[in-house]
Symmetry: D2
Subunit: 142 residues, 4 copies
């Protein structure tokens, strides 16, 4: 799984147990999705604007392995395993490590492909499909 983003834990992310609040991981998964698509050559913003489609989350899952603390740098990996790219849905998988290598959390989000107006599920168009697969490939170099 490729590293796609880094975030630093701020005070506003922590709770009174002194660790990052469990809901914030879904924000960090979103940061990773955005960067994953950007690294594949298009931003999600451009995709939405051009296609009139969007990819709402229909399921999210997080496993919390070790706490993240204030000022920790979190390294987020993301991928769409080929087998998880279905006709009208796709599943992103994520792993979050601290910089020291400790695994903090892992999880996934499942996305449907929907028209903005009707809210109707549609097949993922070939261009997006190709992009999502391209993002999986190692970048650059032979």
């Amino acid at each position: 799984m490729r590293e796609v983003a880094r975030v630093r834990v701020i005070y506003g992310d922590t709770d009174q147990m002194g660790i990052a609040y469990y809901g914030n991981y879904l924000r960090w998964f979103e940061v990773a999705r955005n960067e994953y698509l950007r690294s594949a050559g298009q931003s999600y913003r451009a995709f939405e604007a051009r296609e009139g489609l969007f990819l709402p989350v229909v399921e999210a899952n997080v496993r919390y392995h070790r706490p993240a603390r204030y000022d920790d740098v979190l390294v987020i990996g993301a991928e769409i395993p080929a087998a998880q790219l279905r006709g009208a849905s796709a599943r992103f998988e994520y792993v979050i490590h601290r910089e020291d290598g400790e695994r903090v959390a892992s999880g996934y989000t499942v996305h449907a492909c929907m028209t903005r107006e009707g809210g109707r599920p549609v097949r993922i168009p070939p261009e997006l499909r190709a992009t999502l697969l391209a993002a999986e490939q190692p970048q650059g170099g032979s």
Copy 2:
């Protein structure tokens, strides 16, 4: 200033100092604005839909007097002092107490009246003006 809303501080609102994070007070001010308008006989949602106008925040200020902690119930008062209802802007004022009477925070937000499409400032329409003044009046009674 009338009490318009109550919220209970959750884990997700606290930070590692064991107190409510300073950014969350702007959420609580929004909760109070919504309830203030509702108590005046219309929801902000209805206003936006009907008028094609909205009231974006152009300035926000918070003074933090005492910390709020996990599980505290916060009692939020809000008002628009008559002198703060200008032609094309309005200023809401807020005070937040704990249930035991301790003052936790106070502040204000300044709102412009804007068209949704053009993002142009416009005068506050008379109906909204009347509503905002009505909300100031004591409820019920003869």
Copy 3:
């Protein structure tokens, strides 16, 4: 599943798709957990203080059935099915409806019972176990 809490969706909960952001549901699950325990006769705050134990989340899952929108009132049900109350962990289940009865989301959180200091998993003490089971019972009655 008993209704344990109601929340109203504010602007700060929505995103630019005009629906509640997917990460906020974990906050609403927390609101429901807190109220569930309170209805069982003790607050989570009191439990933590007295026992030196806490119940960190080790897994969270949300399924998003229909969008929640600004100003919607969300009715949150929560329970710990008896079979989900294990030796050192417990699983809360949640369902969120709109007031009009539409199911918006469902999910669960799995919690370990840990000592605050050592971060060591321990068995759920009998008093808490009894409380969690009591919360399942219908309130009132003869």
Copy 4:
């Protein structure tokens, strides 16, 4: 004012008006404070741990000049003007621009220096004072 941090606006930062929610700016001010102190040669985490002191916010102010939108990169500048470094308090000032140079927001936060235990205000110790002034100086150069 020096640039100290960059953040990219995510879906979770926006609201249904399609712009960044007004409360999030206080998170971005915190990101900038953290980086400002780090660039001065110490992290806020290290300061808290060593000194047993912390710098809670006693007032915050934001002016919203233009909206920030999904996927915008925000460039955050921060400084403590020398005149704003008082005996027991300090005032950070912030300006946020989009990458294209448009000014999005500006504001300030006022911080008291407090002991962690007693919650008593104390004078800012000389080492921290020197650090805060050093952070103002241009980095590197001849």
